[in-house]
Amino acid sequence: VRKMIDGHAFLGKSIYMEQSSYDLILKMDRLGLKATVVIAPPPGPFYEDANNFIREKAIEFPDRLIPIFRTNPHLEGEPERVRIALTDQGFRGIQLDPKNDGYGVGNKIMKPIIQIAKDLGVPVYIHSGDSIFCPIKAVADYASRFEKVNFITNFSQRAYKVAMKKNNLYLMTRPFPTLMFKRKNKTSLDIDRLIFTSDAPIGSLELELKRVELSSLKQEAKDKIFGGNLKRIMEIN
């Protein structure tokens, strides 16, 4: 029985990448994944067509694809589009990418969108780590201003140290921290805060699964990382 969920993959085509629903689901079937959280690929600034594509594919494969609405808060009228996406179009969360869309984490343009996420109880994916626009510390600080919103952001050893102090901050695992599990940090990693992600097609699902395999995790921990945590914060079965 397929149980695993990939918490972050791209679906669609952009100048950076291409992944069709056919290729993705074929790979999910081959590697034993039940579902994948799918997000439109960068770059922006406009994501309307890309989000529509995500929506159509999620309707086509309702049990396999979990759609996230990619939003650029710079755009006029974006909060309303976010609200409609979450209430009427089946999107299960939102994605913010400060690096690609050019704003610092904490910028006031984010607030109306985060408020909607709070009102509707959906998680916010927020890119972090590799840009002055979105250092992990800024994401953690921002998360503490919205304690009822669950934020999901990128993993790193530094991110881990910062994020573990915030109860509403979750970390995507790519690249999966195999050596941290095998070595000194084995007992300190908070399994309840990790969400398995591949970032496919930028990342490799095969590699990430291999990294998990080599980490020698117990099944109970795997169940949480491979979907249990995500189901809890997305309130899905």
Binding site: L179, S204, L207, K210
Partner: protein
């Protein structure tokens, strides 16, 4: 699959002596090589700030003990890759012995000492020296590929890069100038080898990266 016939190895930073040399660690590698000469292929690690010791180590371990090349680490030892005062004498001695030089490269921490583009100055000044860019510049992999396109004597090493990035390098500089590396124990060989197998390149190109190229560069039989 995944069996490793031989490994190119060097002393880790943690093995540096109180005198800031790698003499003891290099000697340990020499003894290891003697126990398994066809499988342990050491590079002599030197601290280029200690010029006399570094040049003597290169002569002793490469010239006499038959190590396979030289390793320098601009971040650990705090020097710029293209420093004429610090790095060039090491490059000159290495070129004279006709062995490659492996250089750690990566993100511009430590004031950018380890940026891969700096390898271009060495490649230009020492056209007969084979320079291996360690970790393919890490997140600066596009810079590493760019400088490798400019200089034929630059080779890229794959540890920590993704299959997409490795395939990108192959498309731009050719598979004959890309070599597999694991950076074990910081990297995991099973993962790093799997990355090569997952690259969208031909089987022949994968075999070149996984051993054919380094065998050629090190003049292995």
């Amino acid at each position: 699959m995944n069996k490793i016939d031989a490994l190119v190895t060097c002393a880790p930073y943690s093995s540096i002596g109180k005198d800031r040399t790698y003499d003891e660690a290099n000697q340990f590698l020499a003894e290891s090589m003697n126990k398994a000469p066809s499988r342990i292929l050491p590079l002599v690690r030197v601290n280029p700030h200690l010029k006399e010791n570094a040049l003597e180590s290169i002569q002793r371990f490469v010239g006499e003990k038959r190590f396979y090349g030289v390793k320098i680490h601009p971040r650990n030892e705090a020097f710029a890759i293209n420093s004429e005062e610090i790095a060039y004498p090491i490059a000159k001695a290495t070129a004279k012995l006709r062995v490659p030089m492996l250089i750690h490269t990566g993100d511009p921490d430590t004031y950018g000492f380890a940026q891969p583009t700096l390898v271009g100055d060495l490649a230009d000044a020492f056209p007969n020296l084979t320079l291996i860019i360690g970790h393919m510049g890490k997140r600066l992999y596009e810079d590493a590929i760019l400088v490798a396109r400019w200089f034929d004597n630059i080779i890229l090493e794959t540890s920590f890069r993704s299959p997409r990035e490795i395939a990108y390098a192959v498309r731009h500089i050719g598979a004959d100038r890309v070599v597999y590396g694991s950076d074990m124990p910081f990297g995991i060989p099973e993962i790093e080898i799997m990355k090569i197998h997952l690259c969208d390149i031909s089987l022949m190109e994968k075999n070149m990266i996984l051993g054919g190229n380094i065998a050629r560069i090190l003049n292995l039989e």
